[in-house]
Subunit: 424 residues, 3 copies
Amino acid sequence: MLHAKLDSGDTALVSELLRSRKAGHTLPAQLYTSEAAYQADCDAIFSRHWIAVGVDCDVEEPGDVIAVDIGTSSILILRDDEMNIRAFHNVCSHRGARLVPPGRSVVGKLVCPYHQWTYDLDGALALAPHMGLDFERDLHHLKPVALQSVGGILYACLSDDPPEDISDLINIVGERLKPYDLQNAKIAHETETIEDGNWKLTMENNRECYHCASNHPELSLSFHSADFGFDPEGLSPSERAEAETLANAYAEKALVWEGAGLDHAPIEHTVGFPTNFRTQRLIIAGLGESHTMSTRAASTIPLGQMTMPGAGDLHLWGINSWNHVMNDHAVIFTAMPISADKTLVRTKWLVHKDAVEGEDYDLETLTAVWNATNKEDAHLVAIAHQGVSSQGYRPGPYSRYTERALDEFASWYVERMTANGYGA
Amino acid sequence: MLHAKLDSGDTALVSELLRSRKAGHTLPAQLYTSEAAYQADCDAIFSRHWIAVGVDCDVEEPGDVIAVDIGTSSILILRDDEMNIRAFHNVCSHRGARLVPPGRSVVGKLVCPYHQWTYDLDGALALAPHMGLDFERDLHHLKPVALQSVGGILYACLSDDPPEDISDLINIVGERLKPYDLQNAKIAHETETIEDGNWKLTMENNRECYHCASNHPELSLSFHSADFGFDPEGLSPSERAEAETLANAYAEKALVWEGAGLDHAPIEHTVGFPTNFRTQRLIIAGLGESHTMSTRAASTIPLGQMTMPGAGDLHLWGINSWNHVMNDHAVIFTAMPISADKTLVRTKWLVHKDAVEGEDYDLETLTAVWNATNKEDAHLVAIAHQGVSSQGYRPGPYSRYTERALDEFASWYVERMTANGYGA
Amino acid sequence: MLHAKLDSGDTALVSELLRSRKAGHTLPAQLYTSEAAYQADCDAIFSRHWIAVGVDCDVEEPGDVIAVDIGTSSILILRDDEMNIRAFHNVCSHRGARLVPPGRSVVGKLVCPYHQWTYDLDGALALAPHMGLDFERDLHHLKPVALQSVGGILYACLSDDPPEDISDLINIVGERLKPYDLQNAKIAHETETIEDGNWKLTMENNRECYHCASNHPELSLSFHSADFGFDPEGLSPSERAEAETLANAYAEKALVWEGAGLDHAPIEHTVGFPTNFRTQRLIIAGLGESHTMSTRAASTIPLGQMTMPGAGDLHLWGINSWNHVMNDHAVIFTAMPISADKTLVRTKWLVHKDAVEGEDYDLETLTAVWNATNKEDAHLVAIAHQGVSSQGYRPGPYSRYTERALDEFASWYVERMTANGYGA
């Protein structure tokens, strides 16, 4: 079903837009705003790449199910009786009804509410009333979706031929996440925000901290925006001193982290890699413990084996996600396109599964920084989308210091669209 | 104005989808979900077939008018001074303004609110101020719409060349409806529900009772879902006994009904007939009187001459309607497409025109079953539409026992679309 | 970026519709209802003509800014430190974010909220942090938009090659507006109404008073609907007497106005002129002072030098605007397309800048007539749009007496679309 919702005119438009992208500059307007580009993104990016969809602890127990929408598809993720996590299209094989409603359910088997077709947790069709004794149930099992847990974070791929370089993500990031044991975390809080902008503007916004100082007073308490780049010649004397102090701190920390067996170096897979990601261990500002208003830990029970102070923030970007994993808690973000101009951002705060709300952590303390930051980012994405929708918009220049990662993301995007049937 | 809103690419897409339909299976997804198929349906089905639009008693008195939308058209239906029921496009011949607002009005003449162009109830332009003495008013009468009453149920056809087989509906169904005298009924209650799904999913949902047992506890009190088919080999012993009892009851009733001159045999016009309908007399379950929670009559005054107990439920399906006509009341449903994913279901409960609310019938008793059932059906149509919108959907198999009528409907749909310029 | 959002099929459709327009008749339906025509209008009309966008006194002081949307573009209009009024695209040259929010702001410089790119009030990029010392700021100034004040009313043109006949508007209308000194007026009140219809239906509705008698009881107190034409042979004796009285009054007034140096003759630029306008001085009915319920002035301080009683209503139409300028106040209307079926009507009531609310004028008295009339017109535009959206619509005949100006507007529209790449 290549380009199922696009006619040849739409495909030609998207291809022309992709070809016209100028290096070092934001994308042509209609790649952000047109229905054609939205459908092409759902097809080429969201149906053919490994997309972050949740965390292992979304489905803690056998029979736990969540439904997740990826573009125009709905999938369900469940824990089976052998404790495997599986994913299927959330579509009954009979008349196509949605099997489980949005959000979380607990089931014994998957029973379609329409006509009671009943599936085992491995997707096998166990019961199909009134279909006749000769009905071949084997031909009507649920359609599976490729799923991988990377250190407790779940990635799904709708394609029958998923990119093989998910192994890099598992080897590199899975390894770094091991001591945090996110498989044994729990979701302390979850929010959903609909941003009024294209998903690529959401991702661009997240890939730079050029906008942090003026827009994120809460996050700036624990986050060094210089980590995401700066113009060395444009610094004031005090900024220059600060930058040098931070550089020295990283040099010092590198030895400490290496001594503790904690990988920290930036590793980035963008252009040339289907599975886009970036990981790096960051120093937390202030008292250095966590992304909270006080910069101290929000939970008294560390994740996994993370008892060493100063392990910082294990930062991870992906195609549609960003993550901050700290000693005491992790914040996991996924972005899903809803339309050309709407993006759902889902945020999950994870703490150790034994941590008790009110005793070991306080929800307001845990969530204050990123609740505020999400709200601020939603506004920035909205005004960016409004601007690129205006006839006065022309692709503008990225800063080579603070927006290199956005340029990389745009280049990766054009490359992946082209590799999947657009832009050539 | 063939295919007015569709360009050639859209027409080609719809045609390709129609050709790809696999017998015995639900339709390809985009016939349910695409804007192109919605526009094609409005054109080929809703503008060229006899569509159920209301009942005679919507316009009881001279000057009564209702406005009804059929797809992208608005028509008005009125009772003229000679008690004829007429239909016109609800569009002023001058600047096109809508002549009467949605719902019911009472008028002397039809006066356009914009510039007071005034039409007689036969559509003649009686007055057109400021158009000059030489203005040929004859050329600007209201555009009539073909209208037929079938035993008190109104069917309109927007085409200038309406299908001739409306005569079959009149001869067969009109005859069966005669003793109910629906022309002298009144509308006791009316509801409008917007279902979040394509109109064909609404119609499919209505054409089977495979889903009734699990979804319609209220309707199941008075309705034998076995009437709509079952797998004879898949029955439990108790279900088998029940089926045999029902079969015997029908054999017995056949004699009684024939003795009373009440036609009962199933007659079905689908593939091969432009005017799709099915009629059959059904036994009402429980105490056998009516679709109420008690299964007893809701109104003490029978419709027309229907004094004989046990006359059952005269059931009638159509292209966009379903109807249950019982001794004491009738329930008349019409479905109108609003967009690819929205369908308006209008339900009218009819009782004898002399029946007085609070004395002869209680509104809650009269409407409880179908109010509940409508709500349940709306949910089923919504999850079906969500499912077919998902990339994981593939056309699924209909049960040859319980969903034969859906297969017929899908085949009829493909045939009629093809006959009207698509799919060939 | 010719036809940026239209593919060749859409352009062909619009062109065919334009060619099929029949003289003396309303436009083909899809020129009012289709997305293709809406995009074509935004392109050919709203991006290539002088569009009324506001008034000088929207930005009274240096640093005052308003943001105005024209079709799919957002522009900002500001007063600079030298008291010049300037317009720019409301789009940052960096990542495209909208610089100022909807409505009014006061600024020192224009600072983009996203990354603090900072522009002087002449559009020069003064500051662009982190872009490097070699960054050529000169290449990234704000994109200017052509702007002209015509006697205190602001017109903008998004094109780089604006129609030159704006000079006619300045010479003719600017001259007539001089004694009202609208540059030194203030906005006493402002409303925004979203009409549920195409912008051309909004403009057609405004260009005739055929509908006034039945629909505008408030406006009819001060407005002679005969000013906009009538069928001389269709008048009743009393209407005929009234028409003669009015004709005599105009003959008398002509001498008075000429004596006072007040131009009054109707001047109309439609077919053959890119910049469509019409101006005429009208007699106010009743006591003849102003568009109020009492027909007396609403403000005790006259505009500019307008102390002479009986100067009437200096009426001005444009492509997207209509205006009534009276001795004591002016009402300025602009219409902006939001989608094929939504139009924003912005109404501003202007009084002398020294007039004090509650002392010199009462807001309810000032605004009552046009608040009521706007509401009535919005309903008429809605039923007109509903009608033209219906399949029963056919282009209807304009009255040669009362709707000549609509016929001219439709002809002008077709001409301008054709001149700008459609319809040829």
